[in-house]
């Protein structure tokens, strides 16, 4: 140990840390490139025989065949954009949730937000119940949004009760999950045949509902909220060191948790309102990002969001490619494709440590 000047170990540590930062940036950039690649492949996949080259020409070239232009602009592009945005929104929400609740199983799905959205959708589909002043074709989305948002506010209220720790919050989230599932089941029980079919399809989650209005709204939500998430990076990283240490380091943990849950509720509610319940991304996106990049939230949050985008884009490709001509609901695909990948990652990690 030297009083002035660094020891060899310190000099090496400084160099190694600089290299680590470069590597982390490179991984984030790589994930971004992967997301773009997956997005393009998604654009080039579909029931009509329209490959990537044709699809791109339809985007840029005014002389492209008219039906190609229609397919790409009206069907594929909004769906592909929706896939990316939903992935970003849900994975970012999951990442923040896992950190503020200090629980790797926390996600918008496991803590009942999706169930609440499904219940809202069920109210609209089965009973036609709607918020005042909502146009007919927006009722389902509006109700789903409202209930998803309300469920997180309910969690907030519980968090605000004095003395309730994060475990209470997680348990209450799980209670919400079961409550809303039961309520939705009740509505399914009394629903007409037609409404039931529509509701079941909604709950499976599908990108087929995407259109430009919905894409724009979700994009706006993501663009507005993501900078605030990133802005909380240092505080979230400090929170990983334990609540006491974060508070001792000057973080107002109650406020951080409140604002993070607010962001989570908006991101999740907006995403689920338009595509239905999609479970796996919010849980796995952050997990995969954590394995790749660690929990320095300056890198972890963008990596989670981009991983979510990649997962959703790949799931979207698979949903169109597994059975040619059939669009499998994407909620089913994310679970079927994602889970094996997820398990293998976890098992590999366990094996290493």
């Amino acid at each position: 140990m030297q009083e002035d000047g660094r020891s060899t170990a310190a000099t090496q540590a400084a160099a190694a840390y600089a290299a680590l930062l470069r590597r982390r940036l490179l991984i984030v950039a790589g994930l971004g490139a992967l997301a773009v690649l997956a997005f393009l492949c998604d654009l080039g996949t579909g029931p009509s025989p329209l490959g990537l080259g044709d699809a791109l020409r339809a985007l840029w070239d005014a002389g492209a065949p008219r039906e190609h232009v229609t397919i790409v602009w009206q069907v594929r592009l909004p769906q592909s954009c929706m896939a990316l945005l939903v992935g970003v929104a849900l994975a970012l929400a999951g990442a923040e949730m896992q950190t503020i609740l200090n629980n790797p199983l926390a996600s918008p799905f496991t803590l009942g937000v999706s169930s609440a959205a499904a219940f809202g959708a069920a109210l609209a589909i089965v009973l036609g119940a709607s918020l005042p002043g909502v146009a007919q074709n927006w009722i389902v989305s509006a109700d789903a949004f409202a209930f998803a948002f309300l469920s997180v506010l309910l969690l907030q209220a519980i968090a605000r009760l004095r003395g309730s720790g994060v475990e209470t919050l997680v348990l209450c989230g799980i209670a919400l999950f079961f409550t809303f599932n039961a309520l939705t089941a009740l509505l399914q029980f009394i629903a007409s045949q037609q409404a039931l079919q529509q509701l079941v399809f909604w709950i499976m989650g599908s990108l087929a509902r995407a259109n430009w209005d919905k894409v724009q709204i979700l994009a706006l939500v993501v663009v507005i909220i993501a900078p605030f998430s990133l802005g909380a990076s240092w505080r979230l990283t400090a929170l990983r060191l334990g609540e006491d240490r974060a508070r001792s380091a000057g973080v107002d943990v109650v406020r951080l948790r409140f604002l993070a849950l607010l962001r989570v509720s908006l991101l999740t509610a907006a995403a689920m309102a338009f595509v239905g319940t999609i479970g796996f991304v919010g849980l796995a996106g952050p997990h995969i990002a954590r394995l790749l990049i660690g929990e320095d939230h300056r890198f972890f949050l963008p990596a989670s969001a981009l991983t979510g985008a990649v997962v959703m884009a790949v799931a979207s490709i698979a949903s169109k490619a597994i059975l040619p001509g059939v669009l499998i609901p994407i909620g089913i695909v994310t679970a079927l494709i994602g889970l094996p990948v997820f398990f293998s990652l976890i098992i590999r990690q366990r094996g290493r440590s």
Binding site: M1, R6, S7, A9, A10, Q12, A13, A14, A16, Y17, L20, N102, P104, R162, G163, L230, G231, A232, S233, W234, R235, T237, A238, R240, L241, G242, D244, R245, A246, R247, S248, A249, G250, V251, D252, R290, L291, G294, E295, D296, R298, S353
Partner: protein, 266 residues
């Protein structure tokens, strides 16, 4: 900034379970290592957390004529640093990331100072002799290394008041000495250093002053040589013991459990 830490009428505890009731201490001096000792459940950690502003508390904790309890968290963080007993499990951060994270917790993300924070983090790790594990993930460290990493997280903001909860509990003898020497060096530099120490012998060996808590109240406060007596050991810990002062600090040999009805006996 320097000055004493003055604790007056401090009441703190957990919901429905008050632990400290109107605790008043003689001034805790800067430039000294003060050991907080006492049996299990005496209120040591509660006192330390209350001083750090982590518990709802009444009373005053004055430092440099200002009440720490009335400060906003970000302001208090510039003066006081608290090191909890343990780090959470399953963190995917390297040691240096965790230290930088603790240093920059209340910084804006896009602000400057990244390079400077990294330099400070490395300097602290170097002083603790663990710069070689800077890039090791926290969950791959031994218990002792984890404790040193946690200490680095507490030291990196260079606070005037350091509150350490059992900083040596997981350390082997060599690292215990490293940490206690570090504590003494920091105190010699004008800081207030308060450690909860479970090991009375260690407290007697390294601390300049001792605060003995029993049942959430002050039993006695003073220099170790006067505090560590057979009488105190029987009153507070319920053991019969001999105390040897020949090495220049009190050494304790515990002979027997004194009275089964006293708390602290199992």
């Amino acid at each position: 900034m320097s000055g004493d830490l003055q604790v007056r009428g401090l009441a703190a505890g957990y919901r429905g379970r008050p632990v400290l009731r109107a605790l008043t201490l003689a001034p805790i001096a800067a430039g000294q290592v003060t050991a907080l000792v006492g049996p299990n459940a005496a209120g040591k950690t509660t006192l330390l957390r209350a001083l750090a502003g982590l518990l709802p508390a009444r009373g005053t904790v004055l430092f440099a004529d200002r009440d720490l309890l009335a400060m906003r968290p970000a302001e208090r963080a510039t003066l006081v640093s608290y090191m909890p007993q343990s780090l959470p499990e399953r963190i995917s951060l390297t040691v240096i990331e965790s230290v930088i994270g603790a240093a920059r917790a209340s910084d804006p993300v896009f602000g400057s100072g990244g390079r400077e924070a990294a330099d400070r983090a490395i300097a602290v790790l170097d002083r603790l002799g663990v710069a070689d594990i800077a890039l090791t993930p926290l969950d791959q460290l031994s218990g002792g290394q984890r404790q040193l990493a946690a200490l680095a997280q507490a030291l990196v903001r260079d606070p005037a008041v350091l509150l350490l909860d059992e900083p040596t509990s997981a350390l082997d003898l060599r690292h215990q000495v490293t940490v206690m020497r570090m504590a003494r060096r920091l105190a010699a530099g004008g800081k207030i250093v308060v450690c909860v120490l479970h090991d009375l012998a260690q407290a007697a060996r390294w601390a300049d002053a001792m605060v003995v808590l029993s049942h959430g109240a002050l039993y006695r406060q003073g220099v170790p040589a006067e505090i560590v007596t057979p009488q105190m050991l029987s009153d507070v810990y319920g053991v019969t013991a001999r105390v040897d002062q020949r090495l220049g600090f009190p050494q304790v040999a515990v002979d027997d459990v004194f009275d089964q009805s006293k708390p602290g006996n199992f």
